[in-house]
Structure formats: structure tokens, C-alpha cells
Symmetry: C2
Subunit: 160 residues, 2 copies
């Protein structure tokens, strides 16, 4: 698997990955009905570095990294990761997260923060914990899950 | 004190309040060097409802309220409050927060979240606690304070 910076021409492949996740509305706090243009503009924009994970010329995952806050909070970064549905369970998210941690260190970030990990996304929570993140906050009933109703969201954090 | 929706013509008075706070860089994670245009665009924009607190025709404080997340997180709101330097200690922030809690309930929000309360801003932390907020998360060394160096930031939360 190769992870590289996304280019504008990757837009359609990125959309194929992120749209189903957004439409499902179970893991990201984004409007499930947002337009394709808005979805891509959320994932790739001037404030983010966006990457893609490639395997045999197929894009199997994508992630972004950005400063989580401005000013005195600019040394903490934030990332979002999405894996192509047909590639889930094969270590794509793990590889992307490891890549992002290395990239963040290179860029001088001192910590990485996930602001809103939906607590029912247990695979993700365990994955991030195994990669060094700790749960530093719990937001009670902060997410309305399409099938589970109101569930907690977690804040996860890792000094770099 | 009267609290009302901000109008475009309140821009200069709002800037007089928010610019010194932004320039100081001690309580908000915003670029201390941001332009006046960027500062006002941050505080008043299409995604926020912005209010001003008036006393004898003087604007002594301002706050915004917005959904903290999209999609399944849209029932939790977020606010930012700033008081005119010469009016600090006279209950302006308290009144604005009470106003925002009532407004949030009216609008159907189910919780209010502060994402990033700088831990050295002890007056604010105590104020929010006295108004029903709990510290639900602690972000270690997430804020670089202009005089104290790296300090924790707090996530505070209140169901409505």
C-alpha cells in the first residue's frame, strides 16, 4: 500500500469512498444529505492536507490532517480517515493513521486530537487506542445515531 | 442590560470588544494577528447567531451560538462570549450565558458544549461551572499560552 498526497484528479475516487460513509450518517457528524460538491470541499480544502492510500492503482482509503485550532492551539492536529467499504478490515485505516502520526511529527505538531469519535464505532475506538490514543473526554448523548439513537461521543488525544 | 440580535451596523462595536481579546491570544484559539475583517467574519457569519449585550446604548458584550457539529451532532450547540474590557466583573458574561442557554432551549438544542476552555482562564471555568457546565474532557497541553506556555484546555458540557 502506498500513501500519497491527494490530487484534484483523485476527487471522483475520494467521493466514492466518503459519500457512502456520509450518507450512512453513523460515524461522522456531517449532514448525511450534503451535496457531492460540499462533501469533497469538506474533505479537500485549503486548510487540510489530504492523502490517499493506493493499492494496485486502486484508491482504498483517504485521510486529511489539519490544525485542530488556530492561534495558541495550532500545535495540535486533527485527522479524519475513511476506508473504501470493500477494503475494510485489511489494515487500511491503521496504515493511514500511522502515516498521519509520522507526518504530524514531521510537521512539528505536538499532539493529535479526535474531536468526535462516535462511541458505538467500537472498531475505531479500539483501533485508535491500540495506536496510542487515550479517551480524554466523553460527550454525553452528543450524537444521534441513525439506528441507536442518542449515543456518547468521545474525545481522543495523543501527545506526539 | 438588554441582549439582542447583532446587526451589521454593530460590527465596529463588536470589533472593539473582540479584537483586544484575539490580539492578547490568552483565551481563544484564534490567530492573534488575524485581520479585522477575518475577526468579524469569524464572530458574525451565516453559521452563527450573534448577539450583543447593551447597557445605556453601549455595547458591553457579545456572544455567538451555532451548532457544534453537523448531521447527527447538530442537536448540541456551541457558544463564544466576550465582554468589553471595561465591563468585566459586572455579570455581563453571566447574563449572556444565561441568555444563550434559554435561547438554545427555545431552539430545541439538547446540550451546550464548550470545546476549548483554556484551563488558566479560571474565572471562566468557575463561571461556567456555576451555570451548570461540567468538565467532561481535559486536553493536555493543548494551548500555548502567551505567558504560561503549554497549558491544558477543557471541554465543558451541559445537557439542556
Amino acid at each position: 500500500m502506498q500513501i500519497r498526497k491527494a490530487q484534484a484528479s483523485d476527487g471522483p475516487a475520494i467521493l466514492e469512498i466518503i459519500l457512502p460513509v456520509i450518507r450512512e450518517g453513523a460515524t461522522y457528524s456531517l449532514d448525511p444529505n450534503m451535496s457531492e460538491v460540499a462533501a469533497l470541499a469538506y474533505w479537500m480544502n485549503a486548510e487540510k492536507d489530504t492523502f490517499v492510500a493506493e493499492e494496485n492503482d486502486d484508491i482504498v482509503g483517504t485521510y486529511f490532517i489539519r490544525p485542530n485550532q488556530g492561534g495558541g492551539g495550532g500545535h495540535v492536529c486533527n485527522c479524519g480517515y475513511m476506508t473504501r467499504a470493500s477494503s475494510i478490515g485489511r489494515g487500511v485505516a491503521r496504515s493511514m493513521c500511522q502515516h498521519s502520526l509520522a507526518y504530524a511529527r514531521e510537521r512539528g505538531y505536538r499532539a493529535m486530537q479526535f474531536n468526535f469519535v462516535v462511541s458505538t464505532n467500537e472498531r475505531a475506538v479500539r483501533q485508535w487506542q491500540s495506536l496510542g490514543f487515550e479517551i480524554v473526554g466523553r460527550l454525553p448523548a452528543a450524537f444521534r445515531h441513525p439506528t441507536h439513537g442518542y449515543v456518547d461521543a468521545l474525545v481522543m488525544y495523543q501527545p506526539l
